[in-house]
């Protein structure tokens, strides 16, 4: 390739053709434009006419320029111009060693690294250099082979989820000792690690070293910690540059068990800072499902951290004194606390001695005053080992002598005898309210509802230590909740009962929040080497370099102390380890890890991997040439008079349209067509049942009703439509006629959502079981049962048979019967307000409520309304004149129904007309 002015040419000799351009100019200039051949009878008259010399038609100079440019573009395009041609490198000879860091830090850009390696392999192959590979995270003795052998094995290279340790560097150094001199290409992952300088010295002793590394930053995340109810995460970056936001995602399983992102929060790197902190405040239910945290956009083991027991649901043991009060659920001392904890914690029932061996996180004692020494001793031991004891006061504690003279080890404070009662029937004063939580309290920041009052409590003795142990107090300063730390654990005392007897606290949401604050802050004890002595942990799921979890398979177990002290490596891959019920996550980075960017000495040339790719521009130049030639076509046509002549006018218009116009198809979707047809006019609609006969009758019936409305009233509906509940929008229709057939499909959940929206927004559905001749209203017929099944998910209010003064009886016609093809009396509508009473002298009650959302009956109205294509009745109704009368009443019912839908309770309001007229003085 030859480079001219920053542009490379693959076939530079073709550029010589540019020298021929002036010749082309002269030739084109000499040749006039091609003549048009025309048939013309008048040519006989033209014979012998000569052109003036002066007007001989030469090609204009700008057309010549256009054509010359087009030809030049073609020549340049064929010469194979390439933007950003790859700079030439020193060719070199002899063996070439590819050294790869192969750590998780390069995993995110792994494919880019692979491409660079492949390009260098190709180059080495072209030069005939033997190639060897050395991956520092998995060192092996390099085998120098021809480059194309390595090409096939390139895909097998994988980053390891650890950094090269001292032992690996040693192995690598040893592996190189046997080979001769070679040059080295070092594909670095941009992170510094111990022993890298030594390795570099070893390599430089054998030949030249060139380094390749990506310019992209490396991000990593430290293990999650929990403090004050929030999940704290720290994100690191190797190079501290300008301020930047990085999303941190919490991955886990949703309640359905599918892996998904449960939460995300931005971590902000300040300018020049190498770390960013982010806190996630999550509902404990959600938090308990998180399996790992990831840095968004990174795909490496270091950018994800696994969670372990620290996030699992708390185990809470509930213990109360009174167990045998069956049937008095609300009076159970543990009822409220159970309700509060059940969604977020695993509750354990049993006696204290049964519960303690299970090592729960929290033990709740509700109004238990005294514990036997056999219970107290292990309980104390458990508390000191990190357990949390929550106690509630009550009549028993108030009546006992516990913690009276000396502070009980299992009580945070000393108590006065008898407690106190405020605001009761026999006492002075009002029930007390809570004061705001102080800054040091774990409850700090919680909102205190006004309705939380305390009418009785046990009272703490004033002690020097009392003030620091109070974490919640009443408005008069009396302690309400006290706490003391014992060993690694703590004891919390609520000075009221866990029931609503002494206070309304258990009834309020504050109670739940307080319990959550307390339970969350009792996190699992952090594992240290001493505590793990003697345990063996088996890997369950391990991370690969890309941060993907896979089953550990038959990997051997790890000693407990080694699990927390040893660095991750081939013997200790990062992942989830389990010992019994305990699970511990070993992440790539420890809690105190930092990232340092690699610094190369001056004599090592460093190349980036993200060089601008070569960009051939031949295609663009050839396209330009085609465009120029197209323009030349148009110009030549117009010059020779063919572009705008009459016969070619249309062709040139078409050509111009093809050249310039971008066709823009405006397709009206089926939905829009449906919406237009449904909204241009008022339209009645029926639900498609799937039974063709029923659907046909329903549509014909609505047709007949629409005609009747058109003839008799000012409602002028258009042709009725059939509505598919699954696909069509319902909001366009004031009324839906829904004939019920036993085997019609039940609508989907989405369709029910639509139907409920429809009913709530004022729509009316006329359900017709069509069996009024054989069945009463109810589930006595297949249609009735189907109706019950169909309507169960619908938001339908209480119903009643149409009362004699319902507005439906007088919206247009005065009716008392609502017959269709059958004449059953059972037609049900929304029940009237039970408080509505008939005013003396008024013909009907004052029912000013809305339109009934449903009308349910079985009179097969559509069959009575149905008209055939000629306008005559489709089906017979009754016999003779009385039958026709019944059909007429059926039409009147239809008219009344549509009027009711459209005018609402307008006719009901007519009851006020006499009073209004009277007031107007008429």
């Amino acid at each position: 390739m030859m480079v001219l002015g920053g542009i490379g040419f693959t076939a530079p000799w073709l550029l010589l053709a540019l020298a021929a351009l002036p010749v082309l100019w002269l030739v084109l200039r000499a040749v006039p434009p091609a003549p048009v051949k025309r048939r013309f009878p008048g040519v006989a008259l033209l014979l012998g006419l000569k052109d003036d010399e002066s007007v001989s038609d030469r090609t204009p100079w700008w057309l010549l320029l256009l054509r010359t440019l087009a030809v030049a573009a073609i020549i340049l395009g064929l010469a194979g111009p390439v933007l950003n041609p790859e700079a030439e490198q020193a060719e070199g000879s002899g063996p070439l060693l590819f050294v790869l860091d192969g750590t998780w830090a390069g995993a995110t850009r792994w494919s880019q690294q692979q491409e660079t390696i492949e390009a260098q392999l190709t180059r080495a192959g072209r030069l005939g250099r033997p190639v060897g590979f050395l991956t520092l995270t998995r060192p092996e003795t390099p085998v120098f082979q021809s480059a194309d052998v390595w090409q096939t094995r390139l895909a097998g290279l994988r980053p390891a989820p650890w950094q090269p340790g001292a032992d690996m560097i040693a192995t690598a150094t040893e592996a190189l000792s046997g080979s001769g001199d070679f040059d080295t290409l070092w594909f670095s992952d941009s992170l510094e690690y111990e022993g890298r300088d030594a390795m570099l010295d070893v390599l430089q002793a054998r030949g030249s070293v060139e380094a390749y590394q990506t310019a992209a930053n490396v991000f990593a995340i430290l293990p999650a910690t929990y403090a004050d109810g929030a999940v704290n995460l720290r994100v690191l970056r190797a190079v501290s540059g300008p301020a930047r936001d990085i999303m941190v995602q919490a991955q886990g399983r949703d309640p359905a068990g599918n892996a998904r992102i449960l939460a995300a929060a931005p971590a902000r790197f300040e300018e020049g800072a190498a770390q960013a902190d982010v806190s996630l405040v999550l509902p404990s239910e959600l938090r308990a499902r998180i399996t790992r945290f990831d840095v968004a956009g990174q795909r490496s083991a270091g950018a994800s951290t696994l969670t372990d027991d620290g996030l699992r649901r708390r185990e809470v043991a509930l213990i109360s004194a009174r167990e045998n009060r069956e049937g008095l659920e609300l009076l159970s001392p543990l009822h409220y606390i159970e309700q509060a904890l059940a969604p977020t914690a695993d509750l354990i029932d049993g006696t204290l001695t049964d519960v303690l061996p299970a090592n729960p996180d929290v033990i709740v004692l509700a109004d238990i005053a005294t514990l036997s020494p056999a219970e107290a001793a292990p309980l104390s031991e458990w508390i000191e080992g990190g357990g949390m004891l929550v106690r509630f006061a009550g009549p028993r504690i108030a009546a006992s002598d516990i913690s009276r003279i000396d502070e009980d080890p299992l009580m945070p404070v000393r108590l006065r005898a008898g407690g106190r009662s405020v605001g009761g029937a026999m006492s002075w004063g009002e029930p007390k309210t809570l004061s705001a939580f102080s800054n040091g309290s774990p409850f700090y920041g919680l909102h205190i509802p006004d309705d939380v009052t305390v009418s009785a409590q046990v009272v703490a003795q004033p002690d020097p230590t009392l003030a620091e142990r109070v974490i919640a107090s009443l408005g008069d300063g009396t302690p309400l909740v006290t706490r003391k730390n014992v060993g690694q654990g703590q004891i919390v005392l609520f000075h009221v009962t866990a029931t609503a007897e002494w206070s309304t606290l258990p009834l309020s949401g504050l109670f739940v929040e307080m319990l959550e604050r307390l339970a969350v802050s009792s996190s699992a004890a952090s594992a240290d080497a001493g505590a793990l002595e003697g345990t063996v942990w088996t890997p369950q799921r391990v991370l690969d370099g890309f941060g993907a979890l896979s089953d550990a398979g038959t990997l051997p177990g790890v000693d407990g102390p080694a699990l927390v002290t040893q660095p991750v490596g081939p013997a200790l891959p990062p992942g989830l380890y389990a010992s019994g019920e305990r699970r511990l996550a070993r992440n790539v980075l420890g809690a105190d890890a930092t990232l340092a960017p690699v610094v190369w000495p001056l004599d090592v040339p460093v190349r980036g991997m993200a060089v601008a790719p070569e960009q051939p521009v031949a295609g663009w130049l050839l396209s330009l040439a085609i465009l120029l030639l197209l323009a030349d076509v148009v110009v030549s046509l117009s010059l020779s008079g063919r572009l705008l002549s009459r016969s070619n006018a249309s062709a040139s218009v078409v050509l111009a349209a093809m050249l310039l116009a971008t066709p823009q198809a405006e397709a009206q979707t089926a939905e829009e067509t449906f919406a237009l047809s449904a909204t241009t006019e008022l339209v009645l609609a029926h639900v498609i049942t799937g039974d063709p006969k029923v659907d046909e009758i329903a549509k014909a019936g609505l047709m007949g009703l629409s005609d009747t409305l058109f003839f008799r009233t000012s409602v002028e509906p258009s042709n009725p439509l059939s509505v598919n509940l699954e696909t069509d929008e319902l909001a366009f229709f004031p009324i839906l006629y829904w004939p019920v057939t036993p085997n019609q499909p039940t609508p989907s959940a989405e369709a029910y959502v639509k139907l409920n929206d429809y009913l709530r927004s004022g729509g009316l559905i006329l359900f017709d079981t069509r069996d009024g001749d054989v069945a009463d209203f109810g589930a006595s017929s297949p249609n009735g049962r189907k109706l019950q099944q169909l309507a169960a998910p619908l938001d339908i209010p209480a119903l009643e048979p149409v009362p004699a003064d319902h507005v439906l009886t007088r919206t247009f016609y005065l009716l008392q019967d609502f017959p269709g093809r059958h004449n059953a009396r059972d037609v049900w509508v929304e029940a009237a307000d039970p408080g509505a009473e008939q005013i003396e002298g008024m013909p009907f009650r004052n029912l000013n409520d809305g339109v009934t959302p449903v009308v349910i009956g079985g009179n097969d109205w559509a069959a009575a309304w149905a008209v055939n294509s000629g306008g005559g009745p489709m089906l017979p109704v009754g016999r003779g004149y009385s039958g026709e009368r019944q059909r007429e009443i059926a039409y009147r019912f239809g008219v009344n129904l549509v009027m009711h839908v459209l005018t609402g309770n307008y006719k009901s309001d007519q009851v006020h007309v006499p009073a209004l007229l009277d007031r107007l003085g008429q």
Partner: protein, 295 residues
């Protein structure tokens, strides 16, 4: 044409064209009201001309006794002289006539045939004998002659410019030449002088396409005749326009002067004008001239 299949096919094709031409011509002819066509003099005929006193030499059978009974004088009832005139048509079938400057316009030959046949139908209804110049189809009266004419009109001539047929002209007959007269004018001159020698009067109808009058061409162009025998190349067609129009005007003037000399009528018809107007003019020109000749 010995191949019966080819004969059949060409016959079918011709037959398919005939009704269209006939229908157009009939339609056109139907629009012209036939007016008085008498010779304005006594002679053999069906129409009453005048009563005149019987003279010596009149056959007694010729005396009109109804008129004579009104008085003492004997009258003879004379009838108008009504004689069938022979009209010979020549419609240029040359290739140059098969030209139309756009699809919206009829080609010149179509218009010429329509005009010729319509005129023939009109004359035929008036009882005249219509035929072609030359010996191919001598003038005859009667409906079948129209069919024969239509058939003759459907024969294209391969020559680029066909000269008028001037042979076998019936003395004192009438002739109608319809052509674009783009060819050699000598042929026209010969035909007209020969016709004048035989006392034949007639009409020249000059059919032109609008583009032949406007010459709307630009740019480098090679003009070719319809048959391809003549061609002319120009570098700037628009520069030729004025000179072409001048030549066309000269051609028209020459034709007009020829007609004046020989007692013919000359008219120009454009294919973008209505055929009706052309037919009316043709019919009127023929009729007026005929009256003059008869007088």
């Amino acid at each position: 044409m010995n191949d019966p299949l080819a004969l059949r096919a060409s016959a079918e094709k011709e037959a398919a064209r005939l009704p269209a031409l006939l229908a157009r011509a009939e339609h056109l002819a139907g629009a012209v009201l036939l007016g008085a066509h008498g010779r304005r003099r006594a002679g053999t005929g069906d129409d009453f001309w005048q009563y005149r006193p019987a003279q010596i030499g009149d056959s007694r059978r010729t005396i009109d006794y109804r008129r004579s009974a009104m008085g003492d004088t004997e009258f003879v009832r004379e009838r108008e002289w009504q004689i069938a005139q022979s009209v010979m048509l020549w419609v240029d079938q040359g290739a140059s006539m098969r030209f139309a400057s756009s699809d919206a316009l009829p080609d010149k030959i179509g218009r010429a045939r329509t005009l010729g046949l319509a005129l023939a139908i009109l004359l035929n209804r008036g009882g005249e004998c219509v035929g072609l110049t030359g010996t191919a189809l001598p003038p005859r009266a009667g409906r079948p002659q129209i069919m024969a004419l239509a058939e003759m009109f459907c024969r294209d001539d391969t020559a680029d410019y066909a000269p008028p047929e001037h042979r076998a002209m019936i003395p004192h007959a009438r002739a109608v030449f319809i052509s674009d007269f783009m060819g050699d004018i000598d042929g026209v001159r010969l035909a007209l002088t020969k016709a004048a020698d035989r006392g034949v009067r007639g009409v020249l109808c000059h059919v032109l396409d609008p583009s032949e009058e406007a010459f709307p061409f630009t740019g480098r162009t090679i003009f070719q005749s319809m048959g391809g025998t003549l061609s002319h190349e120009t570098l700037k067609a628009n520069d030729l326009r004025d000179r072409y129009l001048q030549r066309l005007a000269e051609r028209k003037a020459e034709l007009a002067s020829l007609c004046t000399l020989t007692g013919w009528r000359y008219g120009v018809h454009h294919t973008d004008a209505s055929a009706q107007a052309g037919l009316l003019w043709l019919y009127g020109a023929l009729d007026a001239r005929g009256a003059g000749v008869a007088a």
